[in-house]
Subunit: 377 residues, 3 copies
Amino acid sequence: MHSQQDFLRDAMHRLNLTRDRFADRLGIRRRALDTWLLPSDSSESRAMPDMVEKFVLEILRHAAQDGQGALAADSRAAQPLAERIAFEGKPQLLSVSQFDRDSLEALFQVADIMQPIARRQKVSRVLEGAVLGSLFFEASTRTRVSFGAAFCRLGGTVCDTTGFTFSSMAKGESIYDTSRVMSGYVDALVVRHPEQGSVTEFARATNIPVINAGDGPGEHPSQAILDLYTLQREFSRLGKLIDGTHVALVGDLKYGRTVHSLIRLLSLYQGLKFTLVAPSSLEMPSYLLELVARQGHVIEQTQSLETGLHGADVVYATRIQRERFNGESIEGYAPDFQVCKSLVDAVCKADTILMHPLPRDGRPGANDLSTDLNYDP
Amino acid sequence: MHSQQDFLRDAMHRLNLTRDRFADRLGIRRRALDTWLLPSDSSESRAMPDMVEKFVLEILRHAAQDGQGALAADSRAAQPLAERIAFEGKPQLLSVSQFDRDSLEALFQVADIMQPIARRQKVSRVLEGAVLGSLFFEASTRTRVSFGAAFCRLGGTVCDTTGFTFSSMAKGESIYDTSRVMSGYVDALVVRHPEQGSVTEFARATNIPVINAGDGPGEHPSQAILDLYTLQREFSRLGKLIDGTHVALVGDLKYGRTVHSLIRLLSLYQGLKFTLVAPSSLEMPSYLLELVARQGHVIEQTQSLETGLHGADVVYATRIQRERFNGESIEGYAPDFQVCKSLVDAVCKADTILMHPLPRDGRPGANDLSTDLNYDP
Amino acid sequence: MHSQQDFLRDAMHRLNLTRDRFADRLGIRRRALDTWLLPSDSSESRAMPDMVEKFVLEILRHAAQDGQGALAADSRAAQPLAERIAFEGKPQLLSVSQFDRDSLEALFQVADIMQPIARRQKVSRVLEGAVLGSLFFEASTRTRVSFGAAFCRLGGTVCDTTGFTFSSMAKGESIYDTSRVMSGYVDALVVRHPEQGSVTEFARATNIPVINAGDGPGEHPSQAILDLYTLQREFSRLGKLIDGTHVALVGDLKYGRTVHSLIRLLSLYQGLKFTLVAPSSLEMPSYLLELVARQGHVIEQTQSLETGLHGADVVYATRIQRERFNGESIEGYAPDFQVCKSLVDAVCKADTILMHPLPRDGRPGANDLSTDLNYDP
């Protein structure tokens, strides 16, 4: 039931080929491939000949048999995805380190399949009767509401707890007790907590699914997975591969848990170049630098936005988490340390992708992604 | 499938006639009309002759053809209601100024049809799978819960965000960003915010439905629509018309957004008399006085409750919004400035309707609607 | 459709007999009874002879006719449970004093029937379309989420309001007004409020179901009912009866509303012995001591944990509600006043049941149930 576009994209993805190399492999011109990949309601869209479909299917079959192609292993994986990414044997998501490249790609395929539900083109009530416990001990709108809305969209319901004041933990209750009690009421937990490692403590006390929605400066796996998924879809549209790409990470790289999770996920791919742009007091922790370097990626550090953004395929900007170092002055983070339209126009390529996990400090003078980029595609 | 009662009420309503004038028009006695209008399970209810139904239908048909009667235009309106009241082309509700008299009456007809659902006599799951984002940056119980409960009642689910502290806006995020992000998760937004115009900013950033649940001293359209709907149903019961009625508005007319929205809606009708009763520092803003006067209504201002309430068909009392002017002393608002039973008995008519948008300050000595009126019908 | 195990347990329960006495009554060995009571998937489980079933059914029939057995009255009770426990004629739950022993046991039978739904072995949508208003004016996780999750599990939806700041009561609104308004929106209310008697005020203002989820130092009926239900199921497993048992209540017996509600419920049974272990400033209020004594139970008070726990069948420990007496020093509550593993091993029996309503102060040095008992069954 897939469209021609989906079929071709999936094939390029499984074979890990760019548009140019895929066109070469099929012996066709890149331009023909481009027209086949246009949305079917576009006036320039063309149907591909039946023979092309047969050829592609044969290539895929051989790739799977030979173990050729990055995702071939995936087709043979009889083990369910939930088990492959389990945390200590339980269906819990605490860190991006639970993923390898295959299981990550498998997750993205599930996400692809669920897109029509997210867009309300299809209805699913698969979570009918299920209750999600949402425990946010720290400020959040987007993460809390996105999990809540997703759970509701699939037919479930959500019980929210926000803040410490209104919870029993204000009465001195341990994470262990809170976790045990909540798991008696609900079917799954999404937890955000200001202390690194705390969500893992929640998870170890129970057997129900627990998702880490951010544990202080620790991890934020769902955000990183989402960012990589977005990146991959944009690259698929542009006919680019994540392998070998150049990513500039900008802003507070010391406390930004999103960047920490994202760089670990990107490191699962091959031959990337990272440019880290941060003031000296907010540099990426060295344990992460070593981890990334050990996997053979190139890392460059700079305090200059112009230098850092030059030639990047992806610019990932983040907010300075002021709440993490109240009072300290932020050296090296001058008012002109801002990703704005004039800078992007000057040093970036036409197809450079700009990303930001949000929230963004949109006030004048903030050292964050400038609002004059709002209408940039 | 409508009852005889609904049929007759709707006819009077469309022709904009009181019971007396409707009886005259049909050449019947008022008493006969009254018995036909009783609930069908009442022992004194009588069935109207078939001929009456035919006569009424003919009158309605001619009224529609001649453009006679306030609502005749409505019958010809091929355009859906949502489009007629759209805000900048989008299905959003930000101000009562989106309504004219016809579209307001059309909305009330929808409300009539939905009454059995609100009373749980009928079940509707029309919002199955839909998610409402409820963003309240200011204290609220009744507005928040009423929207939430209504959405749930129709099969949808709700994701709540209350207060600034627990939202990403505490991290400096702009209204634009918050609105864009939320519209990615939910299907509709209800927003309350302390600054006038802020909800319009939310609405302009997105294409999903946005409802203004109060923007500081600005507007509160849903409350005003509800108040007018209540008034109209009570008047229909009493055989009165809103045209030509006498409405006394009492309390904080300067900051009370509910009163601001209500007086604008009432001004869509003909020949009303408004008596505005407020201490000198809390008078109705002059731009509203001018707007109402331009539409040909009579306005009287007074600081005396006795004078102001005398002869009114409707007394609409409001709370002084202490949070809007902390510290300022409130001149001219003496402890006896209170709508209480003895005052109502002394100066109001037997069928005067008392209304209050709530919350009401029920503490002793508060300058608000007195609790000794709790058992007044 | 009940299993053999359910059938036998229910029979013992209705006849109010221990396993030993039930075996005697049937003329069988206790060991045979034990094997019939094992889960049917246990390798040592045995099917009981058909004749036993017939014998038991006959005993039950006679017991019902003779009015013999504690629950015989229940079988004859034609009146629905909701009416038998009504508060001032309305389906509201405000105090454990609404129960007698029969209605309490009848409620437990309903709970037994609903267990498979709570465990998600069966699905019920009995509350489809219904909306619960949850009003918590005081900190709560477990009570709020447990009611919310239960309501959702049965197909309903929940509108939460937590804290005073975000409610209209911060604007001076009375309990009366809040209750009237909320009952216009929702189908049932669960209310927690810091002032004793306040929830009753909520209930009196409306006809919809209202449940007291804790009114300051007043009552907490749902917690007490749940505790007793748990106790009864454990006793049923152990073949013990609540009549004649020995219960030690430990901790803050002055302000602990849970203990207040629980001791009143336990007093509905026969011949209990209560040992109350509390520092002198936190003793059980005298009105409760008198109420319990009047019903013929034995009460002992002590400040020594060793003395108090000795020989108890049940130890019910509670947290010291620090928030109730900020600043006061707590005399007689030394750091060694803690129920810990070494104490339990020294003075309790092998089958002593340890209970705690939670939350528990799990911080080192807290005078609460020690975390070294976490793995005690």
